[in-house]
């Protein structure tokens, strides 16, 4: 491969910004300067699809209406553990308006065993959703009920009913689900442990480490099961014609859904087209369409008609994924000067009938510590499968680790922020702490117990880390047209994060256009393959090929213009809607006119994600460095009622080169709000006697609404690692990891009692305070 040397901005502006020389592929564009000197990138730009969203014109999967389309409804199991003796669909089939009934079966035609309430059993396609609902209620299922267990600690006992009596491989769906193992080890309902991640396995010698420690914190932290509740439930509209299957899917990965359905029905991938133009929220659980996608496809095949199948809200809670709970034991030792000597971690959690309930990598990598070991166990229970949920595992992990660090700081008589300065080696988090503390006015912090009276105030801080993931299978096509259009295409989907807009900004920057001038066509597998929206990897994966494809198309155009001007293409620049000669002011032409002079009607260029400049930490796409976050929380606790209110969060984040400041702030707001909601309100309540979820809706399953929203002040720190042609990374997951721990630390600071379990409900606060009074 031809390469050339190129100098890139490197480091953090107003801190340690310098230049670094990298060897890069010869056909990649020259280095961009820092954002200050760019026109469209790094600026606040309106979402390219904002108008469609505010007028109701945006068509989501649930809004797709095709000629002859039928509506489908799934019948779900009403018991948590059973074998099915018989299913009678006769009455349902007779109901006027019903077109097809499908019963889920094993390959040998037997009925699958029921393992959780909400597991799909059968489905109906009818003229309307009301008729389909009515028909599912007419299906009679004869269950042979069996014993079951819901509670994690009960499920671990040797006498507990077994969810599976053989090794299982089913991982929680979607992207990076934390630290995983193959499910083959373990006894009873216990699987694991996993003891390593892609950052390695155990380090050093725990015993030796603890023997060097002057202070030790040893605690168990507990987190609850959280469900995703994207406003648009999971679903598909599938039109299966003899020539191929068209799938409209509410998904985080058009590519994964295509591959999944092609695989399931043994079709060539080229015969499955997946479209997702607008998507009503996913948060990790929408990488797969299992189990409802194949059901819709079969109903479409049976009826010869398009079939609409969106889950109802209750079904979404039960079958479409959740963040597993955790019982998280931590033992951390430190010397008098604060140096960490050993970290021991052990966790148990349940992703229901799936694996993937770890506590992530926070304890392993956030702080340097020579002696470390983790054991992360999955506990199988008779509940719906977990799925990736915004920073899977790591949110649970950070809740424990970042409280334990505060506890250590207190034992060492250190300010918790100063203590992090001491033990945290990350340069970018150092800057985040400085800028965050200034904005927050951390100097107001006083030791726990300083606030007295009925209404008490507290301040807390917590931080987190997230890898820079890159999906190398990321391709973008840029087309320029003789009529003046500039278009960018890719299979990648925009799940509300603003992917369409940042792609437009990048192409606009390259062509000297405005963001709004660029046409963005994405979310369709007829376009080149691109990453799923998981692991916060889309921005880091898709923006470099976007820029590189735009650059290639531009250079092709430049070549044609340069020929006319009898000069060299490298002498031309695109700026402000014009193409100019760098050294000859007399030579200029508007981009529009230049496009009219093209030899062909279109120029198309495509580019795929190249390796990071200087390579990866892991060749599959784990980049060097990390995404930092430091969040500060200010809370009020009413000691009479036990109510906690989060008043303010300052959230300091880095995500490489920021592309669209407004959209990044929107995502930070969202991550913080979901974190507050997780810390204080959300909780999947299961009835252990029946195996039913008691709050499968959005009122009894409590989520932060407008009245619970704190003042949120995002701080975005530019950082240039010089790793790609854009140096940009995602913000989705980092925004969500530290919040619950920051809130818990602030609550402790307010009332002097530490909350080892979330959600921090009034009952838990009052219980803790009564304990204090005794």
């Amino acid at each position: 491969m031809d390469t050339r040397k190129e100098k890139f901005p490197y480091g953090i502006p107003d801190h340690n910004l310098t230049e670094i020389e990298r060897e890069i592929p010869a056909d990649e564009p020259p280095a961009w300067p820092v954002n200050d000197q760019l026109q469209e990138v790094g600026k606040r730009r309106i979402r390219v699809d904002a108008r469609a969203k505010v007028t109701g014109e945006a068509k989501y999967t649930s809004d797709i209406r095709l000629p002859g389309m039928l509506y489908a409804k799934i019948l779900t199991a009403k018991v948590p553990h059973a074998s099915i003796r018989n299913i009678n669909t006769q009455e349902a089939e007779k109901l006027p308006g019903v077109h097809a009934v499908h019963i889920l079966r094993n390959e040998d035609n037997s009925y699958p065993d029921v393992k959780y309430v909400g597991q799909p059993v059968a489905a109906v396609a009818a003229d309307s959703l009301d008729i389909a609902r009515q028909a599912t209620r007419m299906i009679q299922v004869d269950y042979l009920e069996k014993p079951f267990v819901i509670d994690v600690e009960q499920a671990m006992k040797p006498e507990a009913p077994l969810v599976f009596d053989a090794p299982i491989a089913r991982q929680a769906d979607g992207g990076d689900v934390g630290v995983v193992h193959d499910g083959s080890k373990g006894q009873g309902n216990l699987r694991g442990p996993s003891t390593s991640s892609f950052f390695g396995g155990p380090r050093g010698d725990l015993e030796a480490g603890f023997s060097q420690a002057d202070v030790i914190v040893e605690q168990t932290y507990r987190t609850q099961v959280q469900t995703h509740v994207p406003l648009e439930t999971h679903g598909v509209v599938i039109d299966w014609k003899p020539e191929g299957m068209t799938v409209y899917a509410s998904t985080q990965s058009t590519k994964d859904v295509r591959d999944e359905l092609a695989d399931y029905f043994d079709l060539p991938k080229s015969r499955v087209r997946v479209i997702c133009e607008f998507m009503g929220g996913g948060f990790g659980a929408k990488h797969s369409t299992s189990p409802y996608g194949p059901v819709a496809a079969i109903l479409s095949q049976k009826t010869g008609r398009p079939v609409w199948l969106m889950l109802e809200r209750k079904e979404e809670h039960l079958m479409a994924g959740n963040r597993p709970n955790s019982i998280h034991y931590l033992k951390i030792g430190a010397k008098k000067d604060g140096t960490l000597t050993a970290i021991q971690q052990r966790s148990h959690g349940t992703a229901g009938v799936a694996l993937g309930a770890g506590v992530g990598r926070v304890a392993q990598i956030l702080y340097e510590c020579p002696n470390f070991a983790t054991e992360q166990y999955d506990v199988l229970t008779f509940a719906g499968p977990g799925a990736a949920w915004r920073a899977p595992g790591n949110v649970q992990g950070a809740f424990g680790v970042e409280q334990a660090i505060d506890e250590l700081a207190e034992k060492l008589n250190l300010n918790p922020l100063a203590y992090r300065d001491k033990i945290d080696q990350s340069e970018v988090r150092k800057v985040l702490r400085q800028r965050g503390a200034k904005q927050f006015d951390w100097s107001r912090w006083k030791p726990a117990g300083s606030s007295t009276g009925t209404i008490r105030k507290g301040l807390g801080v917590a931080q987190s880390t997230w890898p820079r993931f890159v999906d190398l299978d990321s391709t973008v096509e840029v087309k320029i047209y003789r009529d003046g259009a500039v278009e960018v295409r890719s299979g990648v989907q925009d799940i509300g994060t603003g992917t369409k807009t940042i792609m437009a900004q990048i192409v606009a920057e390259e062509f000297g256009l405005k963001t709004a001038d660029v046409i963005v066509r994405i979310g369709d597998t007829i376009f080149p393959d691109a990453p799923g929206s998981g692991g916060s990897k889309v921005t880091g994966s898709i923006t470099p090929p976007t820029r590189n494809a735009a650059y290639k198309a531009k250079m092709e155009l430049f070549k044609q213009i340069a020929q006319q001007w009898q000069t060299d293409a490298t002498k031309l620049v695109a700026s402000n809607g014009m193409i100019l000669h760098k050294d000859d002011a007399s030579k200029k032409v508007s981009l529009k006119e230049a496009l009219q002079r093209m030899r062909t009607g279109q120029i198309t260029a495509s580019a795929s994600r190249s390796d990071d400049y200087g390579g990866f930490a892991q060749p599959w796409g784990l980049a060097h460095g990390h995404l930092g976050s430091v969040q500060f929380a200010e809370v009020t606790v009413n000691t009479d009622t036990g109510m906690v209110k989060v008043d303010r969060i300052v959230a300091a984040h880095s995500c490489g080169r920021p592309i669209n400041l407004t959209q990044i702030e929107s995502q930070i707001n969202g991550g913080v709000i979901q974190g507050v909601s997780y810390a204080l309100y959300e909780d999947r309540v299961m009835d252990e006697a029946t195996g039913h979820m008691m709050n499968p809706d959005v009122d009894r399953y409590q989520i932060a609404y407008s009245m619970e929203i704190p003042a949120i002040e995002p701080i975005i720190v530019e950082e240039y690692p010089a790793l790609s042609s854009t140096d940009a990374y995602g913000i989705g997951e980092p925004a969500n990891i530290a919040t619950a721990a920051a809130v818990a630390n602030a609550v402790y600071n307010a009332i002097g009692m530490r909350m080892y379990e979330i959600p921090i409900t009034p009952a838990r606060i009052l219980k803790a305070l009564n304990h204090l009074d005794q």
């Binding site: 969203k53 007028t55 109701g56 406003l231 929220g281 969202g670 929203i709």
Partner: protein, 210 residues
């Protein structure tokens, strides 16, 4: 036909879905009107037809976004379903389908309601405004413009309901405080957590409308 009789009988607890919907539907998005006593007022003013319809389809006429529409629907059809599946107006979203999230907010005679909790047959003859009707002739409502400018949508699925709520607030209260906006939207669920920009946009729209 057996079915026909059965579907008209009250169920075992003596409370039909229809009666329940009639009480709960013509109220409000979220809990806003609970404060103003309109919940009770609407309960008493709900139309009493005194006769049964259906289960076969009936024709209902209503004014939707200034246009008189005749919809042939089953009596059990909610206003949300009538709009989305029969009138082709999919801007109105169904999220919880039980009146808890306000994503389905439309205006009936200028007042916000949860269209998932309103039977379409109860809207006969009244005026329905949906998100599609808020920008007649493509001229955006100031709240829509402010939502664009202040990035008050992420996934955008709550946006139509959120805008119908905020636009109604500004009709009633042209000078809202931040607290007023929070109270007005407290029944509107946004899972992406876009609230801070919704608040900003609504306050900015109020300023612009002065």
């Amino acid at each position: 036909m057996q079915m026909k009789e059965d579907s008209n009988k009250p169920d075992t607890n003596g409370f039909t879905r229809r009666k329940f919907l009639r009480g709960a539907g013509i109220t409000t998005a979220g809990s806003v009107l609970l404060n103003t006593g309109l919940l009770a007022a609407d309960f008493h003013s709900a139309p009493e037809t005194g006769s049964y319809m259906g289960p076969d389809a009936v024709t209902v006429q209503m004014q939707i976004n200034g246009q008189m529409e005749h919809l042939t629907i089953e009596p059990r059809t909610t206003l949300a379903t009538a709009l989305r599946d029969h009138a082709g107006l999919t801007g109105t979203k169904v999220v919880c389908d039980r009146g808890s999230c306000s994503a389905c907010t439309v205006w009936i005679d200028g007042k916000p309601v949860n269209s998932c909790m309103t039977l379409a047959i109860d809207v006969g003859g009244r005026e329905v405004t949906t998100i599609e009707g808020l920008a007649p002739g493509g001229n955006l409502h100031p709240v829509q413009e402010a939502f664009i400018e202040h990035d008050a949508s992420q996934c955008g699925y709550c946006t139509p309901g959120m805008i119908m709520t905020c636009a109604h607030l500004l009709k009633e209260n042209p000078n809202p405080t931040l607290e007023d906006v929070k109270i007005a939207t407290r029944g509107n669920l946004c899972r992406c957590g876009t609230y801070p920009h919704v608040f900003k946009a609504t306050l900015a729209a109020a300023d612009k409308m002065k």
